[in-house]
Amino acid sequence: MTSKDELFKSLVAEHQEMVINTCYRFVFNREDAEDLAQDVFIELFRSLDQFREEAKLSTWIYRIAVTKSLDHLRRIKRKKRFSSLKRIIGVTDPSEDIAAPGNENPAESMAESERSEILQEALNSLPDSQRAAFLLSKQEGYSQQEIADILKTSVSAVESLVHRAKKNLHTKLYAYYNDR
């Protein structure tokens, strides 16, 4: 086993939980979060030789996690736009009609699932910088300085982004529930 392999394994062991939970905050889905976390570590392995130590290694890893998560959400958005176009022209995807797995309390789980979808929609409408700052601030384990390093900005800018994100989220959710 080479020294690169040893280093890689130790990095995975040290950061896997944070990486997967960071991705989970963005995508709200376990399978997608695990796939994204794998992509993050693959990218890490690929680029480990090129790491120039301009930032901490952990900052770099979490920056990759945030970038991959945002890219994934953009892909999903494009897919949704395309599938709504398919629906308009009469071409539907049968996999979209598969029912969700059963639950002991279907009414409750459906309400929570609906609320989660509403929150996701509101989050996806935010600009990337606001969304990233807000979601990272909600996750335990990130200080304001670490979030600023990940987003390559200052602490005051992070605070401003989080404040604007909260305000925008509140506005969007208020409008949604008011129109219902």
Binding site: F8, K9, Q16, R25, F41, R46, R115, L173, Y177
Partner: protein, 143 residues
């Protein structure tokens, strides 16, 4: 206060109409306040979902799958023969170069694979003759 019949009636009429209007406005503002409170409650409940999200526990197979993927993508690649690795960007560049050279070759060489250098020099000579000819003169050279 006017004491004429009309004035009193007017006063009484407004008194009669004031009460339902005032009570309607009061009821409406209470309704709106409750409506706003309900919406605010829903918004707060939705926003606290993020705080209530339990951290994900790692699947026990996560690291195994990851290392298998690393071996698949990088393990065999390291040992492979240079000629076996096809980078599509290099291939695309090769195609473009081939098209460029092929087009240049078709332009320069005629059907018999004779370089058309003679044709090019004739063209150049004709070009110089043309420029000095009377047709392209700016002024009339005839005396």
């Amino acid at each position: 206060m006017p004491t004429t019949t009309t004035g009193n009636l007017f006063f009484k009429r407004t008194q009669v109409f004031d009460k339902p209007v005032v009570s309607y406005n009061r009821n409406r503002s209470e309704y709106m306040k409750k409506h706003d409170e309900d919406i605010e409650r829903e918004v707060r409940r939705t926003m606290t979902l993020l705080d209530e999200m339990a951290p994900l526990e790692l699947h026990h197979q996560f690291r195994v799958r990851l290392m298998q993927r690393v071996d698949r993508e990088f393990g065999e690649g390291r040992k492979s023969h240079f000629g076996q690795r096809i980078d599509f960007r290099l291939a695309f560049m090769g195609v473009l170069l081939f098209i460029n050279f092929g087009t240049a070759a078709l332009t320069i060489f005629d059907g018999g694979w004779q370089p058309a250098t003679a044709t090019i020099s004739e063209l150049l000579d004709n070009q110089s003759l043309d420029y000095t000819s009377q047709d392209l003169a700016y002024y009339d050279q005839t005396p």
